[in-house]
């Protein structure tokens, strides 16, 4: 590779990585135990990516490629810290229930003309509720939610980053969303949200 072309490549690579920093940090925060660990993880991934930049064949695959390096850095660090691979939970475990639905808890068809509890729920949802609910998810669920729902990765892209079959990503995402909705519901109830049935009783009394 000529020097000029090499410099252009390096400049492009550095700028593209800097553009992706918020996404990378968001992904790292979904894996790491603390903000400091997440920043170290991104720095480690960027350093590794720089060393291996010649492996990136197509520029438009940079995001997925970087996230895969980020995930591998996380797993390496985990192994180094714990030296017990079975503790690495990004791979997930057995089947879990994916049936909790916020909509089913909130929706009351006969309330259509009186109000919209689903919209009211969304209106009162605070960022801290969302953060608390996502942070409370098990790691393997948190990662798929952040990749798919926050970063907007397709199922195929999530599968590539996590080295999982697409079908596993689909089912894990369903379970993760179910748990997330359950956590949001529980937080809302803690804050004093009434079950719709109780609201209706209150209105009728």
């Amino acid at each position: 590779m000529c020097k000029r072309h090499g410099n252009e490549e390096e400049t492009w690579f550095a700028e593209a990585v800097l553009d992706l920093l918020p996404a990378l940090l968001s992904g790292a925060l979904s894996m790491a135990a603390s903000r400091a660990d997440a920043e170290d993880l991104v720095a480690d991934a960027v350093a590794r990516a720089w060393e291996r930049r010649a492996d990136l064949r197509e520029r438009d695959r940079l995001r997925g490629w970087l996230f895969r390096i980020l995930r591998n850095c996380f797993l390496s660090e985990r192994r180094r810290r714990h030296a017990r691979p079975h503790e690495i939970s990004l791979s997930g475990e057995g089947e879990e229930d994916a049936s909790f639905s916020l909509f089913e808890r909130l929706h009351q068809p006969f309330l259509l003309w009186w109000g919209n509890p689903e919209q009211e729920f969304l209106n009162t949802l605070l960022e801290e509720d969302l953060e608390r609910a996502v942070n409370g998810l098990p790691e393997h669920h948190r990662v798929v939610v952040v990749l798919a729902d926050v970063q907007g990765f397709s199922y195929a892209e999530v599968a590539e980053v996590l080295e999982l079959p697409v079908g596993t990503v689909r089912s894990r995402l369903a379970r993760a969303r179910s748990r997330l909705q359950e956590a949001l519901w529980n937080h809302a109830v803690e804050r004093g949200l009434k079950e719709p049935e109780a609201r209706v009783r209150g209105l009728l009394e």
Binding site: E10, V17, L21, E39, A43, W50, V150, S154, R170
Partner: protein, 88 residues
């Protein structure tokens, strides 16, 4: 995802709910998407659920996305990249 053709029977609520996440994630093929949209046009209950799930998904994305990183952290990465570039 689905091999149905548009002249097949419309999907029912059970099938629509099974496909809802893939529909909102834009993971259905054109036939699957068309079938979902036709169902949502005529089923108020599924339409309400789809709207709620779509708004919740948007709220989660909006609430958790990082638009920028701390300046100090960005400087750290800039320095790292600059140092690597000067070494190569």
């Amino acid at each position: 995802m689905n091999a149905r053709t548009s002249d097949r029977e419309p999907i029912d609520c059970e099938e629509a709910l099974e496909r809802l996440a893939a529909y909102l994630d834009q993971e259905l093929d054109r036939t699957g998407r068309d079938e979902m949209e036709r169902h949502l046009e005529r089923c108020r209950s599924c339409f309400s659920r789809a709207e709620f799930e779509r708004r919740l998904k948007e709220r989660i994305q909006r609430g958790l996305v990082l638009d920028e990183v701390p300046r100090e952290f960005e400087e750290r990465i800039r320095t790292l990249l600059g140092r690597r570039a000067s070494e190569s």
